[in-house]
């Protein structure tokens, strides 16, 4: 191969290289300036943007739920508290073999199919380092067993969480209510910020009515988190403000006595202090265990409660509307005196039935043979129907409506509970408005004995009785007595101002009606004279029997053959002592048949208990 001479000009090449190196150097400097301008853009112009992103990365704001306020009765008995409930939590990153662990745990605690399925779902969407709840509401025994076996299960922990607990369970279920998990509808209603971190909300009863007091204010904690979301340290913290404790007018012991006294019946008892409006007891039977609802009631249990014909979830005291029956008579009598439709000594002959002019229909007295000559006192004591047919006829429906309305019939009492019903006090306008029919005279008569259209809740009866016993002074029935702000020394007593009183033209008329009610218990032929025996003070009352269904004219009426569901409701309203009343009791025993034999003794038991407890306290 021919060797071609390589002509290299070294000086020229060095010169060429120098030029190229200079170009390259300039190029490098330019590129460095590009990089620098990128840094200026990121670090100077976009600094606040990236700084925010960095903070968002780093800082995780987590809400701290406030502790819910407690609920006490008037004597400091706890009705609703926050108790640690034990739950089993598994931390996946610490568990080597999840299926084996679950299997072994299954031998110690009860793990059913549903529990495992739910856990599986949670496992998939939770962080590995977070405790995932496997079982809630562990029993003491299970907790103990787990403690013994703890060494076998790394990553398995028993954690105590605060959960609402109702120590008196069934006794207070309707009044105190219960909390449950916040649902979609409630999410829209509440202030979401304040409920961040809160899982439960008052669903019913006082828990719901005083939700704002009980809940408290949410707190916050800024945590520094790493990329996995693990919280590394607390940067700052605004502690939550716990909810206020609320003190009720209720007397837990009296409530339980009332509950026991009514046991065996469905129905309601309301006990009040007439001179303040404080509700001492409010019983509705049958009841339920509110604790079932706190951690989510099982479908089976809920179905059972919901579908029971006795409707245990229904608060009869404020929602149950019953015909007041004869318990309305003292009020009608008072109306008769006030409207001068009758004099208090004036007598009416009761022959066992009553006839309206130009009408065939017989309005029967509960006593077929009649009561003979009846004055106002006897009409209440013996609960003569004919007397009230005549009185109602004389007063007319307009005046009856007008007078009874002053005692709160047909109107909500405004008690501090949601869902209260107004009952029904019929009038011509009402019938025209709702049924588009004219009022018949016969309807006036049966309104006079508390039948027909008229309906009242047990609370309304108690409230009306309180007004009567206090001779016209009206106090709002209520359950809240004081609010205790945690950390403050003194409770704040809630003042429930008295309402516009019922004014009579003749004050003495109060006495005539009340005297009639005293005769119910202490008169020779009083319908509840058996209940009045052995009292060392005098009480006043009125029995009532409310027809559940109408009985056809002339039909014989055989209690035994009527199914229990169709039996009359037994009612009794009372207060004691009659001169300076300190307690009012209204009782309704559904299908109890007779106010005198069923409802009145229940009242007596309650009053006895109350007197016993308040002896020496000057019956305060």
């Amino acid at each position: 191969m021919l060797h071609r001479a390589v002509i290299k000009n070294h000086a020229l090449e060095a010169q060429l290289f120098k030029r190229r190196a200079l170009v390259a150097a300039i190029f490098c400097v330019l590129i460095l300036l590009v990089l620098l301008s990128r840094l200026v853009y990121l670090q100077f112009f976009e600094f606040s943007h990236f700084s925010t992103l960095s903070e968002n990365n780093r800082v995780h704001l987590s809400p701290l739920a406030p502790n819910r306020g407690l609920i006490y009765d008037r004597n400091g008995v706890v009705l609703a508290e926050n108790r640690p409930s034990y739950q089993l939590e598994l931390t996946p990153e610490q568990i080597k073999n999840m299926p084996d662990t679950l299997h072994d745990l299954g031998e110690i605690v009860d793990l059913d199919e549903d529990t495992l399925k739910r856990f599986d779902r949670l496992l998939k969407r939770s962080n590995k380092f977070e405790g995932i709840p496997l079982r809630t509401k562990l029993s003491e025994e299970e907790v103990a067993k787990l403690a013994v076996n703890r060494h076998r299960f790394p990553g398995v922990e028993v954690k105590a969480r605060l959960g609402r607990f109702y120590p008196l369970a069934k006794s207070m279920a309707h009044v105190v209510g219960y909390v449950g998990r916040i649902d979609e509808k409630e999410l829209k209603r509440i202030d979401e910020t304040n409920y961040k971190g809160t899982t439960h909300i008052g669903k019913n009863g006082l828990e719901r009515y005083y939700e704002d007091q009980l809940h408290g204010l949410v707190g916050y904690q800024n945590n520094e988190v790493n990329v996995q979301g693990r919280e590394l340290r607390v940067l700052d913290k605004i502690p939550p403000v716990p909810g206020n404790n609320i003190w009720l007018t209720l007397d837990a012991r009296l409530q339980q006595v009332a509950e026991k006294a009514l046991q065996g019946y469905t129905g309601s008892v309301v006990v009040m202090k007439p001179h303040t409006g404080e509700i001492l007891a409010m019983v509705s039977l049958p009841s339920f265990d509110p604790n079932l609802f706190v951690h989510g009631i099982s479908h089976k249990n809920y179905k059972r409660l919901r579908d029971s014909p006795d409707r245990p979830l229904f608060n009869r005291s404020i929602k149950g509307q019953y015909p007041p029956g004869s318990t309305v008579k003292p009020f009608v009598a008072l109306g008769g005196l006030e409207t001068k439709s009758i004099g208090h000594k004036e007598q009416i002959n009761c022959t066992g039935h009553y006839l309206l002019p130009n009408e065939e229909r017989k309005y029967r007295d509960w006593k077929k043979t009649g009561h003979g000559m009846v004055d106002l006192d006897k009409s209440i004591a013996e609960s003569c129907d004919v007397y009230y047919y005549e009185l109602a006829y004389r007063m007319g429906i307009n005046r009856i409506h007008e007078f009874l309305h002053q005692f709160g019939f047909g109107e909500k009492t405004g008690v501090d509970l949601l869902g209260e019903r107004a009952g029904l006090l019929p009038s011509r306008e009402w019938k025209k408005r709702t049924r588009n029919k004219i009022w018949f005279p016969g309807e006036t008569l049966i309104t006079g004995i508390g039948q027909g259209y008229m309906l009242a809740t047990p609370l309304q009866l108690a409230s009306a009785t309180s007004i009567l016993s206090m001779r016209g002074k009206v106090y709002s029935p209520h359950l809240l007595s004081a609010i205790e702000v945690p950390g403050d020394e003194e409770k704040v007593n809630i003042v429930w101002p008295p309402r516009e009183p019922v004014k009579l033209k003749r004050e003495a008329n109060w006495g005539h009606s009340i005297q009639g009610m005293v005769s119910v218990l202490h008169g020779l032929r009083g319908t509840a004279r058996n209940t009045g025996y052995g009292l060392d003070f005098k009480m006043a009352g009125k029995t009532g029997t409310a027809q559940v269904f109408g009985i056809a004219q002339d039909a014989e009426y055989d209690e035994e053959t009527i199914a229990k569901k169709l039996r009359d409701h037994a009612l009794f309203i009372s207060f004691a002592p009659y001169k300076d009343p300190k307690i009012v009791v209204a009782v309704i025993a559904e299908n109890g048949s007779h106010g005198s034999s069923v409802a009145a003794p229940i009242s007596r038991k309650i009053i006895d208990e109350w007197i016993k407890n308040n002896k020496g306290k000057n019956a305060k």
């Binding site: 090449e13 190229r20 390259a24 590129i31 992103l53 960095s54 990365n57 780093r58 990329v227």
Partner: protein, 374 residues
């Protein structure tokens, strides 16, 4: 420069030592400063792990030894070795493709029994050596024929490495070879033509790219496309840099890195840690330091004794710059994610040794010229 002053007036101990060891004083200062900065940032990026620092120090020591050894070899010797090293290197690359270990989804390592070896690293040095060797024999500016041979010499290792696949390294090797051609006097017209050609070839290149590589390009264009997947690296590193601001959050105070939001924070993304903690001012100083080293390298090259020395020195200096540009460009989000470390700062042994070996060559070019010319 320093050698003249030292020799004539106050030949300090360190200067005399430098001369004896064939080292360049200015370059050593720059490299030393970078290594120190690297250790400081690494301490923070590695969650203050002293074990990590110890391992890095060991590597630095090894790399410095390699640099010292190479600095003693005259560039004429390096030149004579070039073709043999190139041939061995290409054979090893083929072997890697045939029987290499797979690590992180790519075949890069060759297990020689006693040592695990990455031939592609060696090729970063050998490829420019080879092209420089070839050019040294030819009249410059190069003829068409010379250019064609040079292109083959560059593209063979480039494609072999791209097949592993290791896009970052093949890019660096291509750049190193290209710089030799450029410095050798590639005509501007031709260069312009090649740029046009390369641009028109982009769709074809796209076609041959792996899915993950395409993803990286797509991610660069729109990081929000997949914020938790491919875009995550870019987004998080930009957050780290941006949140550093002008003054930085201070050493050990970068939350992005300390809370592990930054990926690969000790290796390829270490610049984000630096920028987060030392801010724009730190970034500016760091870029100036790099610029100083590169300019010093080019100056050494210009003064090279022969064409081979000049071309090799210039190419190595510019390749060092490419490292910097690709890495910082990637971390700051103006280039796609390519696995190129921040030179002399990123944690990791192989690139450290290669870079220091390159500096050893620069030192040799510098000092042996002096001796030779005497």
């Amino acid at each position: 420069m320093s050698k003249i002053q030292g020799k004539q007036y106050f030949p300090s101990f360190s200067l005399r030592l430098m001369r004896v060891l064939h080292l360049d004083h200015a370059l050593m200062l720059g490299i030393g400063a970078l290594l120190l900065v690297g250790l400081i940032v690494l301490y923070s990026a590695g969650d203050e792990s002293s074990a990590l620092i110890h391992r890095q120090l060991t590597r630095i020591a090894l790399a410095v030894v390699v640099m010292l050894i190479i600095a003693q070899i005259p560039s004429s010797t390096l030149r004579s070795w070039s073709p043999w090293m190139y041939i061995v290197g290409v054979i090893l690359l083929v072997l890697v493709l045939l029987m290499g270990d797979v690590g992180k989804g790519a075949q890069r390592w060759l297990d020689l029994g006693f040592i695990r070896f990455q031939p592609s690293e060696m090729m970063k040095l050998v490829t420019p050596m080879m092209v420089a060797w070839y050019f040294a024999e030819k009249p410059l500016p190069p003829s068409w024929r010379t250019l064609l041979v040079a292109a083959v010499l560059i593209l063979v290792p480039t494609f072999l490495i791209a097949r592993q696949p290791d896009l970052g390294t093949s890019l660096l090797i291509f750049a190193a070879g290209f710089f030799v051609i450029f410095l050798g006097g590639l005509s501007w017209r031709l260069m312009f033509g090649m740029c046009v050609l390369a641009a028109s070839m982009l769709p074809v290149l796209w076609h041959f790219m792996h899915d993950y590589q395409r993803g990286r390009v797509m991610t660069l264009l729109d990081p929000g496309r997949d914020p938790l997947g491919a875009g995550y690296h870019i987004i998080q590193s930009q957050i780290a840099i941006g949140s550093g601001g002008v003054y930085g959050r201070g050493w050990l105070n970068g939350s992005q890195s300390h809370l592990n939001f930054l990926p690969e924070q000790s290796t390829d993304f270490i610049f984000a840690v630096f920028a987060e903690e030392f801010g724009l001012i730190g970034g500016l100083l760091l870029l100036i330091l790099y610029g100083f080293i590169i300019i010093r390298g080019l100056m050494i090259a210009v003064q090279g004794q022969d064409t081979f020395a000049r071309l090799l020195g210039g190419s190595l200096s510019l390749t060092f710059f490419v490292y910097l540009f690709v890495n910082v460009g990637m971390v700051s989000g103006i280039l796609p994610v390519v696995g190129v470390p921040l030179p002399l700062i990123s944690y990791g042994g192989t690139s450290m040794v290669t870079l220091m070996a390159a500096f050893g060559m620069l030192m040799s070019i510098n000092s042996h010229r002096k001796l030779w010319s005497k």
